[in-house]
């Protein structure tokens, strides 16, 4: 028998909860939790919720991004980043999370799903090191 993946469960929850609210939605959620418990997948509940979030974002045309930088970024740059992401991924809505990390030394790093654009000084130094070693 094929194993049920996290993606299967998240998709099933999404599909079953479409067009439902209130008491009906409660029933769907209860049944979903029972299924997860029955299949001994409670330990994967965090991954299921993350996957569900991804499915909902995809359907609603939302892109979530994590931006890390050494210092706090001002509004002008955050607006430019938002426009860049909307243009690249052809979406109307973005949810941006900004963090400050001094270990980056400089520049910034944008993470969107499994894609990253790393423009940090730390990354550049690492690439330079590899370049000098191989050349």
């Amino acid at each position: 028998m094929a194993t049920i993946s996290v993606n299967n469960i998240a998709s099933a929850i999404y599909e079953s909860s479409q067009g439902k609210d209130g008491a009906e939605l409660d029933i769907v959620m209860k049944k979903a939790v029972n299924l997860i418990s029955k299949k001994h997948l409670m330990s994967k509940s965090k991954e299921i919720l993350n996957q569900l979030e991804r499915i909902i974002d995809k359907k609603d045309g939302v892109v979530r991004a994590k931006i890390s930088s050494r210092i706090k970024i001002d509004k002008k740059i955050t607006d430019e980043i938002e426009d860049f992401i909307k243009k690249r991924y052809q979406v109307k809505h973005t949810v941006l999370e900004f963090t400050v990390d001094e270990k980056l030394l400089g520049g910034m790093r944008i993470e969107i799903g499994d894609e990253i654009i790393d423009m940090t000084t730390r990354n550049k130094i690492k690439k330079l090191q590899n370049y000098l070693i191989t050349n």
């Binding site: 993470e111 790393d118 330079l128 000098l132």
Partner: protein, 500 residues
């Protein structure tokens, strides 16, 4: 080289360095255990693509699942942690190849491990490659001289052939392989010895023996020892054949030995089970046949239009209690162009190499033999088969007719003559002389226990006194009537002196 020069050079390199920011796909390690990593993300990774871990280790993608990727780690997995960022490299696993690898001992990734320094090269070959097509190949017609009489006479191997060496533990499989390598001196052959899951002490002994025999001048050793991970044992044979293909692409002939593929199959089974692939017969994964067939198909002889060259493969398989019908042995027997079967019983009877001539076969056969060898070995296999059948009746010696007794006596002398010490490969011309003397009956009146002494003396004597015969066989691969007459005369003279 002054300090200023180094600084100026560095400045120039840094100026030439260009770094464009670009989007890269990354994954994160969700699980790591026993040389395997489960990674989330990397949504557009390809099968068998290389990935790199933060500590510099590399891995190969083997499982593409819905939620995660299964990667085998080609290095120390203890330095990899959950949450580590993993980058795709957009490359299939490749190994560096260079002429400078000759004489070196390399690991499964092609890096030298013999302490003689790095090998500088900018060339590399992918370890997975589609085997040459039918049109690019040529029939096998050139011999690989192993220097072992039993093989060169009865189970001849040709350049481009795959001949399996199969037998129980401690029956002399590796000994045959090493003797073959030692005999390639001056034969215009490059040798690659792939050691899979062997003890380091055994490999060191082999390396020492090859160095003493001058064989490291044309040999490369690729090693994935028993203390290394199953992932490295899995890729080692493919690394070996990729290096062999580099030399074949130059039009050269290469001999590659896989010692041994039983351990290779076990390593692949370990990886597959850890990756949760469904186990089949004997818990091996369903594609264990393909594991070896795609490896051995890369051995071939290429025709001149496509660059020439050849790769001759001698895979080794270890059986348990002589069971040829087990899963992996039957798989590899069906892939190769013949097998050399070694038996424990023969070994302990003192028949070494312990080749069971009855069960051994070369599907290329006499196409791979020089004319002279074909002539002298023609009836030898049949004689030996008849001898084995009659052996059971030898206890009734007094009740047998004359021709049966003669056949038995000839058979005993043939078995004695085919014995050969380790690390003493014999030149083809010497083999032809000895087999000629046997098949023409010159040894019929020599006592069985004196055959080896007779043989040794005969070779020394004919090398000095039968120069015409030797020259003819070396140059034209066949003797003339004049050469034969000279040889017969010389053998007669030697016999007289031996009898005294």
């Amino acid at each position: 080289m002054t300090k200023n020069y180094i600084v100026e050079n560095l400045k120039k390199q840094i100026t030439n360095f260009k770094d464009d920011a670009k989007a890269e796909k990354v994954g994160h390690v969700i699980e790591v255990f026993d040389g395997i990593a489960k990674i989330s993300g990397l949504s557009d990774i390809k099968a068998s693509e290389m990935v790199s871990f933060p500590n510099g280790e590399i891995g190969v993608t083997l499982n593409l699942e819905e939620d995660s990727i299964g990667v085998i780690i080609l290095g120390d997995f203890s330095k990899i942690h959950e949450g580590d960022e993993v980058h795709a490299t957009d490359q299939i696993l490749s190994v560096p190849v260079a002429d400078a690898q000759i004489g070196r001992v390399l690991n499964a990734l092609g890096a030298p491990i013999d302490g003689k320094g790095a090998i500088k090269t900018d060339k590399s070959n992918p370890i997975e490659k589609v085997a040459p097509g039918v049109i690019t190949r040529q029939s096998v017609s050139q011999a690989v001289q192993t220097g072992i009489k039993a093989i060169d006479a009865l189970i001849p191997i040709g350049r481009g052939q795959r001949e399996l060496i199969i037998g129980d533990r401690q029956t002399g499989k590796t000994a045959i392989a090493i003797d073959t390598i030692l005999n390639q001196k001056g034969q215009d052959m490059i040798c690659v010895y792939v050691s899979i899951g062997q003890k380091d002490s055994k490999l060191r002994k082999i390396q020492t023996r090859l160095e003493e025999g001058g064989a490291m001048d044309y040999t490369i050793i690729v090693s994935a020892g028993s203390s290394e991970s199953a992932a490295l044992a899995y890729i080692a044979p493919y690394t070996g054949v990729s290096i062999a293909e580099y030399f074949m692409d130059q039009g050269k002939d290469v001999l590659i030995i896989y010692d041994d593929l039983s351990k290779h199959a076990v390593a692949y089974r370990e990886i597959s089970l850890l990756l949760r692939r469904p186990p089949g017969r004997e818990a091996f994964p369903g594609d264990v046949f393909y594991l070896h067939s795609r490896l051995l198909e890369r051995a071939c002889r290429r025709n001149k239009e496509y660059g020439g060259g050849s790769i001759t493969a001698l895979p080794i398989i270890e059986t348990q209690s002589g069971d040829l019908s087990a899963y992996i042995p039957t798989n590899v027997i069906s892939i190769t162009d013949g097998q050399i079967f070694l038996e424990t019983d023969l070994f302990y009877k003192g028949i070494r190499p312990a080749v069971n001539v009855g069960f051994s076969v070369s599907r290329v056969g006499s196409s791979a033999q020089i004319k002279a060898m074909k002539k002298v070995s023609g009836t030898l296999k049949l004689d030996l088969a008849q001898f084995r059948e009659l052996e059971a009746f030898s206890q009734f010696g007094s009740d047998l007719d004359e021709s049966t007794k003669n056949q038995l006596e000839r058979g005993k002398r043939a078995v004695e003559m085919l014995k050969q010490p380790q690390y003493a490969p014999m030149a083809t011309e010497d083999q032809v002389v000895v087999l000629y003397a046997l098949t023409k009956g010159f040894m019929d009146d020599v006592a069985v226990d004196k055959i080896k002494l007779f043989e040794k003396g005969l070779i020394e004597y004919t090398q000095k006194n039968s120069k015409v015969f030797y020259r003819e066989v070396m140059e034209t691969k066949m003797w003339t009537d004049a050469g034969e007459q000279e040889l017969v005369k010389v053998i007669g003279e030697y016999k007289n002196s031996f009898a005294k």
